[in-house]
């Protein structure tokens, strides 16, 4: 008898466990839908005209899908120019940020000097500082240097404000590099510079890829600086450009959807191919910070 109760108890437990797991999966999947649904809806309405946005089901494709929305905003809305600005400003900013941060991390982890912990502390605290507390002096500073409404102001601030996070991600990797390599390089008669460029930099390539991707995302999405420092259309990047463009076309849903899709597509494509690196970079940056 006791065996029978035990058996029914254990099958009851197994059932409970299965229901529990089902609930867990349901929660996880609902969360995933919540995270992804707005973007799916965006894709759908970017392919509709107003008539179809208002009258067809939320998640239904019109036939035929109106790809002309994309052509229209790219040509008429000058989205192409904003896109090009975003590309080159992001590229220049990322190259300098990663290179300068690698220099700094090398000095912070490999060289011997007295103030290095103070300087490291300054980079760590730099992570916490609100951008808005620097905005007014930076505006004055760039005005004096005649860099206001000039892409240089954006590139400089992109570099300055992303150096701390980049150095934090690099630090962990540099700490794990064996010192014997440098020693043997130096015994072989290498100068510090040759050692850095020919030994250290190539060895850190995995983490350089990670920091490059993270910086690309941050710079691509930068908004406050461009919005504050840049006023002429010819230098605006995609974030501020779409903001202005949408302001003019508030009623054309298809055009707005297509503009937004164009602005997020490069990030989504990068994510599709490089998600492991992105995950790694975000985790490392956050936990170290």
């Amino acid at each position: 008898m006791s065996g029978k109760t035990e058996a029914s108890l254990s099958s009851f437990r197994a059932l409970g466990k299965r229901i529990g797991m089902a609930i867990f999966y349901a929660i996880l999947i609902i969360l995933a839908i919540f995270q992804i649904l707005p973007l799916v809806w965006l894709l759908f309405f970017s392919l509709k005209n107003n008539q179809e946005v208002f009258n067809t089901p939320l998640l239904a494709l019109p036939s035929p899908p109106r790809w002309e929305n994309y052509v229209k905003v790219w040509v008429e809305g000058d989205i192409g120019r904003y896109f090009f600005n975003s590309v080159w400003i992001t590229a220049v900013s990322v190259i300098f940020t990663v290179l300068l941060a690698s220099f700094a991390t090398f000095a912070l982890t490999r060289m011997n000097w007295r103030l290095k912990h103070v300087v490291l502390g300054m980079f760590i605290v730099g992570l916490m500082i609100p951008v808005h507390s620097t905005l007014i002096p930076l505006f004055g500073f760039f005005t004096k240097l005649q860099l206001i409404d000039h892409p240089m102001s954006i590139i400089l601030t992109n570099i300055g404000f992303n150096l701390p996070i980049t150095i934090m991600i690099l630090l962990g990797f540099y700490h794990s590099l064996p010192r014997e390599l440098e020693e043997s390089a130096i015994i072989d008669g290498c100068s510090v510079h040759r050692m850095f460029f020919q030994v250290i930099l190539p060895m850190t390539s995995p983490v350089i890829v990670t920091t490059t991707i993270i910086n690309m995302i941050y710079n691509w999405n930068e908004f406050v600086f461009v919005n504050t420092f840049i006023s002429s259309e010819q230098y605006k990047t995609l974030t501020v450009g779409i903001q202005n463009f949408i302001g003019q076309y508030t009623t054309d849903w298809g055009a707005i959807g297509a503009t937004l899709m164009i602005s997020v597509l490069p990030i989504l494509i990068a994510f599709f191919f490089l998600s492991d690196k992105i995950v790694e970079g975000i985790t490392a940056g956050a936990i170290k910070g």
């Binding site: 996880l28 912070l108 510090v192 974030t239 707005i256 937004l260 936990i287």
Partner: protein, 292 residues
């Protein structure tokens, strides 16, 4: 070797470019913001020293305190939602098929620009054609609210996309921390007869307490200085109903061209962030530094 790595000229060459950029773009501006906060200045004309007048005005400025209240409200919401992310991560880090993929899906919104997110959610909240009210009408709710125009709910309406934006980020961090707990510790606890709840409360949570502390600081400071979505979606409106400290500063400095008073708000924002960070670190000091 040591001699080469102690050469002052070489060290300067490697550290100075970054350090100078950090100083000129971050630290010197902060000092200058503090200095401007004692000035009457429109950004173009001459500065006039007015001592603490800006701060006296700030103390009486109802709109400033309202924005401070809203920023702290966002901080409270963010910290409460951390508990939810932690629960999700505990489940996700268990024996869940597809966990690897799910945490990546959760992360996607965080990678998009705030402007794109804001514009997208402006459409979602659109009173007649938005996804949300479309859905509510479908459910038979005849008179769905005007989410961003109604002052009593506008602020909360913006909290939702902010949380949507960052959920995946925190889940990712917790997930990574939970996965890094050595298997031997978990096995030992299971052999000792710990059930899943005890494993979570007595073993996993204490072991990732350091990471939880970091995320609390990140969530609170991130909320206090939050700007982007609010600026794009409502500009702080309607009638200040969704104004936060950073958007108020931006409006004072770059819309009303009151650079002196804007600096006072900006410097107060910095002080609030520093103070709150220090306070959280002090309050959570006891459960620091767990080694395993």
């Amino acid at each position: 070797m040591n001699k080469m790595m102690s050469d002052k000229k070489v060290i300067a060459l490697y550290i100075l470019p970054s350090l100078l950029l950090l100083l000129t773009l971050v630290y010197i501006p902060i000092v200058m913001t503090g200095y401007y906060s004692f000035m009457k200045w429109d950004g173009i004309g001459r500065m006039e020293f007015i001592a603490l007048d800006n701060y006296k005005e700030l103390l009486k400025d109802k709109m400033f305190w309202k924005s401070v209240y809203h920023s702290f409200l966002l901080a409270v919401f963010s910290v409460i939602s951390l508990a939810g992310y932690l629960a999700v991560s505990l489940v996700l880090s268990g024996k869940i098929k597809g966990a690897h993929l799910l945490r990546k899906i959760y992360l996607i919104p965080m990678l998009l620009s705030s402007v794109a997110i804001a514009q997208l959610w402006l459409r979602i909240y659109h009173p007649s054609n938005g996804m949300l009210n479309h859905f509510l009408l479908f459910l038979g709710i005849d008179d769905p609210p005007n989410w961003l125009a109604d002052p009593s709910i506008a602020l909360y309406s913006i909290f939702v996309p902010i949380i949507w934006q960052y959920a995946g980020f925190y889940i990712l961090i917790y997930y990574a921390a939970l996965k890094s707990i050595p298997a031997s510790i978990m096995e030992a606890a299971i052999i000792d007869g710990a059930n899943p709840w005890q494993l979570a409360y007595k073993i996993k949570l204490p072991l990732i307490a350091g990471v939880v502390k970091v995320t609390i600081v990140l969530a609170v400071v991130g909320s206090l200085k939050y700007f982007d979505l609010i600026y794009v979606m409502t500009g702080g409106g309607p009638n200040g109903a969704s104004e936060v400290i950073a958007s108020y500063m931006y409006q004072k400095a770059f819309r009303s061209f009151n650079f002196g008073y804007g600096s006072t708000v900006a410097f107060s924002l910095l002080l609030i962030c520093v103070l709150v960070t220090w306070l959280i670190r002090k309050l959570t000091r006891s459960n620091e530094e767990i080694q395993y």
